[in-house]
């Protein structure tokens, strides 16, 4: 029982990550691949934030009467990672727009019929 209380958070996060990961590698549409990538990354963010939580703690902003704070370091790391994520998303979507213009399609299986693999 205590195993479940201790780890349920991580297990759900693993499920979410894998849902995103599956979407990236199995989706046929390039936009959906990017959405999957985002879901994958967001789930990893939840993993990091989960490890920074202290039961009974509060947000790491100094306030009177509070002695237990959650760990600020994972928050900082994830702030950076979120920015990296949106940067990748923007470039990826720009590529999708260009691919649509150059090939007329964004469906992966339709490329294989033409001259390129993706």
């Amino acid at each position: 029982m205590s195993v479940i209380v201790d780890y349920y958070n991580y297990w759900v996060v693993v499920f979410l990550m894998m849902a995103g990961f599956y979407t990236v590698i199995a989706a046929n549409n390039l936009v959906k691949k990017i959405v999957g990538l985002n879901i994958f990354q967001t789930s990893v963010f939840i993993l990091y934030i989960s490890m920074g939580k202290v039961s009974g703690g509060s947000a790491p902003i100094v306030a009177e009467g509070i002695t237990t704070y959650s760990n600020p370091l994972p928050h900082v790391l994830i702030l950076t990672a979120i920015v990296v994520g949106v940067a990748t998303t923007a470039v990826g979507l720009a590529l999708v727009v260009r691919i649509k213009r150059a090939y007329g399609t964004v469906e992966e299986n339709e490329f294989k019929d033409k001259d390129d693999l993706i």
Partner: protein, 501 residues
């Protein structure tokens, strides 16, 4: 007064030059600035290399905060060696790029090309210098984003799909590394590499650390295109502009190899990775499969850039093979091959780029008769090709020699034999191109008659690298000393940490 800041300058200089390029807005000025900054970084890096060989390790606390609370920039022989290599190649590629991109990239995007190149250089220098596991991820992403841009700059539409595939796989790899670093942090509470090594040695193996290692290794393997995660590399190298292919082939994957070395030897330690988890066998098998599968793939291609791209994946196999031997000699051979392979692939891709510049094609048919029309370019190609094969008196021979010696040192006769057999395959795919250039008759159409030698700005960097192949094949003092000291430093620190258990 800047000596104590030398460690950070190879990162900060290109980082500040990149936005300056945008502000200058004029492509000639941007080129000049980028080349100068890159050359300056190179001078500083070589300086650092000598300092690192002298003093062992250099450290710099960014923001004045001591590690592990702040981010530390650390330089030892291994990082200084690869950093000197990367900055040197970057400078040569920038000189080469000026002429090369004229024909391959729309002129309105030249400033963006130089900016992206500088950002990529920033990222690579950052990866090589940092002593912090998360900071490494950030710089990895800077270099990756810049790389996706660089690949997609070519006017060929296939560069778009190549860049997209690279982006998806690269981001998955980076996210895997992020998961792995998270697991490390979760178990140790720190991100500084040395501190991590101490705490992993204290706590001993655990499932979380094992999983973390697995994820980091898979993530890095995507970045360094280890078979079977190499699928992004051939299209990316084939369809990107020649200057970009030359730069990426000789730096990006090399830096990824360095990251793998860092995680295996500095953070986890040989004991943990190879003895407890048995990673050496997996890496060894993948490396050998990579050498053979991709050498055969290289033989079947008609696009010379694709030939070279598959050859890169095969050569990466040699580097990983050296690492997987788990000995100082093997690691040293691996690092030496990192250095030498950068020289040969740089020269080869530059030669192919020059052919593209003059003939407009990189198909093997376009090479027919070029031995007479572009003698200097093809001579550089031959030197680079011989180096890949491992002909004596070239740099490639030196690293293959050390690799075979390292394998024999551990009585791995079969591995030594396979390394030699792999070189034989390289003879075949390189010789196909050389045969076309020197032995086949050119087609006598009107267009092919005015093919001339490549312009000076392309020939000079190409020949610097080609001569580098010969120089480091004859005089091995610097490269071998650097690789040896790097390997000793890495295995020693890893052993001493392992011994602390």
């Amino acid at each position: 007064m800047f000596e104590q800041h030398f460690l950070i300058l190879p990162i900060v200089l290109p980082l500040m030059a990149a936005p300056l390029c945008i502000l200058l807005g004029q492509r000639q000025l941007a080129w000049l600035l980028a080349t100068l900054v890159s050359a300056l970084s190179c001078v500083i890096s070589v300086n650092l290399l000598y300092a690192a060989l002298d003093q062992g390790v250099l450290s710099y606390a960014v923001g004045g905060w001591a590690a592990p609370w702040g981010i530390e920039v650390r330089m030892d022989a291994a990082s200084a060696m690869v950093l000197s290599l990367v900055t040197a190649i970057s400078t040569l590629v920038l000189i080469y790029a000026k002429a090369s991109i004229e024909k391959e990239i729309d002129s309105s995007r030249h400033t963006l090309f130089y900016t992206a190149h500088l950002l990529c250089l920033t990222g690579l220098s950052g990866i090589l210098s940092t002593g912090d596991a998360f900071n490494l991820f950030v710089f990895l992403e800077i270099s990756s984003l810049a790389t996706y841009t660089l690949v997609s700059l070519a006017s060929d539409r296939r560069s778009l799909t190549a860049a997209f595939r690279y982006l998806v796989m690269g981001t998955i790899g980076a996210t895997f590394i992020l998961i792995g670093v998270g697991m490390l942090y979760m178990q140790t509470g720190t991100l500084n590499m040395l501190d991590l090594a101490d705490r992993i040695a204290q706590s001993g193996p655990s499932r979380t650390l094992n999983t973390g290692l697995a994820f980091i290794l898979v993530g890095v393997s995507v970045k360094l295109a280890l078979f079977p995660l190499h699928m992004w590399l051939p299209p990316a190298y084939t369809h990107s502009p020649s200057a970009v292919s030359a730069f990426l082939a000789s730096t990006a994957t090399k830096v990824a190899v360095y990251v793998m070395v860092r995680f295996i030897f500095t953070i986890y330690g040989v004991e943990y990775v190879f003895h407890n988890m048995g990673m050496d066998l997996i890496l060894l098998l993948l490396a050998i499969v990579a050498i053979f599968k991709c050498s055969f793939m290289a033989m079947a291609q008609s696009n010379v850039k694709t030939v070279l791209a598959y050859s890169s994946v095969a050569q990466i196999g040699y580097m990983i093979l050296g690492i997987s031997l788990a000995s100082a000699a093997g690691l040293m051979a691996g690092l030496l091959h990192v250095f030498n392979h950068a020289l040969m692939k740089g020269a080869l891709f530059m030669a192919v780029g020059a052919v593209l510049y003059r003939t407009g094609s990189v198909d093997i048919k376009a090479f027919r008769g070029l031995g007479k029309k572009m003698p200097l370019t093809m001579a550089a190609f031959v030197i680079g090709g011989m180096s890949i094969v491992g002909v004596p008196l070239t740099a490639g021979f030196v690293s293959k020699w050390y690799l075979v010696t390292a394998a024999l040192e551990q009585q791995h006769w079969l591995i030594a034999f396979l390394i030699l057999l792999g070189s034989l395959l390289a003879v075949i795919y390189i010789f196909r191109v050389i045969e076309a250039a020197y032995l086949k008759k050119p087609d006598e159409s009107a267009a092919s008659k005015d093919i001339k030698e490549a312009p000076m700005l392309m020939l000079i960097p190409m020949w610097v690298l080609a001569l580098g192949n010969i120089y480091f094949g004859l005089d091995t003092t610097l490269s071998v000393a650097a690789a040896e000291s790097a390997a000793q430093w890495l295995t020693q620190s890893s052993m001493s940490v392992g011994g602390g258990q």
